[in-house]
Symmetry: C2
Amino acid sequence: MKFPNNILLKEVGPRDGLQNEKSFISTEDKVEWINRLSDTGLSYIEITSFVHPKWIPALADAVDVVKKIKRKPGVTYAALVPNEKGLQRALEADIDEVSVFMSASETHNQKNINKTIDETFKVLRPVVQEAKANGKTTRGYVSTVFGCPYEQDVSIEDVIKVSEHLFEMGIDELSLGDTIGVGNPAQVQRILDELLTRFPASQLAMHFHDTRGTALANILASLDMGITKFDAAVAGLGGCPYAPGASGNVATEDLLYMLDEMGIETGVNQDRLLAAAQWIEEKVGRTLPSRNLQVAKAGCQTRA
Amino acid sequence: MKFPNNILLKEVGPRDGLQNEKSFISTEDKVEWINRLSDTGLSYIEITSFVHPKWIPALADAVDVVKKIKRKPGVTYAALVPNEKGLQRALEADIDEVSVFMSASETHNQKNINKTIDETFKVLRPVVQEAKANGKTTRGYVSTVFGCPYEQDVSIEDVIKVSEHLFEMGIDELSLGDTIGVGNPAQVQRILDELLTRFPASQLAMHFHDTRGTALANILASLDMGITKFDAAVAGLGGCPYAPGASGNVATEDLLYMLDEMGIETGVNQDRLLAAAQWIEEKVGRTLPSRNLQVAKAGCQTRA
């Protein structure tokens, strides 16, 4: 195996972590938390979503959040944008980067977005183009790359089709999502083997959920394939809403622990990250699944 | 990366998982649980420890447990043995395999065993030899291979010294332990690069704790190095006693999920393993850290 010297961590906790969260986090708390995240050394934070508040009430305050945070120079603040209406709100709030999203599997796309994949292409194309015309960088998310709760296996052809359409629209980067956390390292190899013949590693990011504990192993397999950008959420927020103890996104501090120990640079400070994790855990009001957060709180045996 | 076709899972839950457990598990429950584990397809179960009950009261019923379980043909039942007195109890109970243990770091060895490393060699040599004379296979554990809570980093020379002594005594297999769960995949590569020039992969097993979430990534790195035997504990038992939410041994069902999905054969049935995990979780009386157990209980979205 070979590993890169540097990794770019993309924090998605304020968006992917909070979007299904039942505990209401106030706008003031979100702003305070994002400001704390900005001080950890993270250079990319996805802070909210401009999906209609009817669908994601937890992030109904998107415009306020973007306007109220303290923008740290060098940090890119991104947000999810589903359509042109959402883009208008995002541009009004002056977000740095616009992320569009869809699924590789038809059924998940329809259940999640209420449109077919082909209809979604038509909705997202003007969003990407208008965002770019307004000087924004753009990111595309593909969900269910590693498996779909409705269609089971997802073919690599479906992943390639959606990825090609998104790049052809003009996105700058593609994030490949293991939405329900079912992926494994051999699958990572197979999928990236195909995608890397079509798109450069520098334009791909991996987005793993740790639902079944495989996220760091999947990241390791991705590192070996040359991927250098990974999404993660502080404290492992974003779990299955039906499972209080279940993990969501890979916890940023768990990923950072592994990278730090491997000597891979990220520019992120673990102590500050853990403090931001503990801060949001208190606001959410339950034990969150991050391994390193629980160990740090308990003061377990360490090597240091 | 390359992966083997078959892996041997060595279940250590009844010993490593329970030895620091505060909830008292009765002899009858231990026996019932081990019988359930025997029916999962596991071919190796470390079921108790013959360390003096003063030190490990949770396993004071070692002889009874070994005598009362239903021995399934094809399953090897192993136990920890610290000295000749423990060996007499183990032989009386007619355990199949005798495991001896010590640390790679001097301070941890002294705190854990109350002897220097050199004194420990003298104690263990007759244990291994007498076990073999009685027709038992023998296993050696080296603790703190990836880091020590007292000495921080542990040199590869110290690991090699202890490993060579144990093999020279006559052990059949060596288990390399990340006792406090601080290891990382790059370190796995470095350590195995050295050890595999001295000992065959077929005689090495890896024993990872998932304290900081890196266990499966470390196992993936080990697979890539040709290791095919891994210790694990059902439900992720064996966590830091000060951290209720912290993980202990890598959960057998988390490891099995990854291996199953990668197409690597183990002969172990995941549904039965999860049932055995849930059974012991109820006895222990708190939520255990296994990702797959929590997800299975909650009925989260799956690909299947």
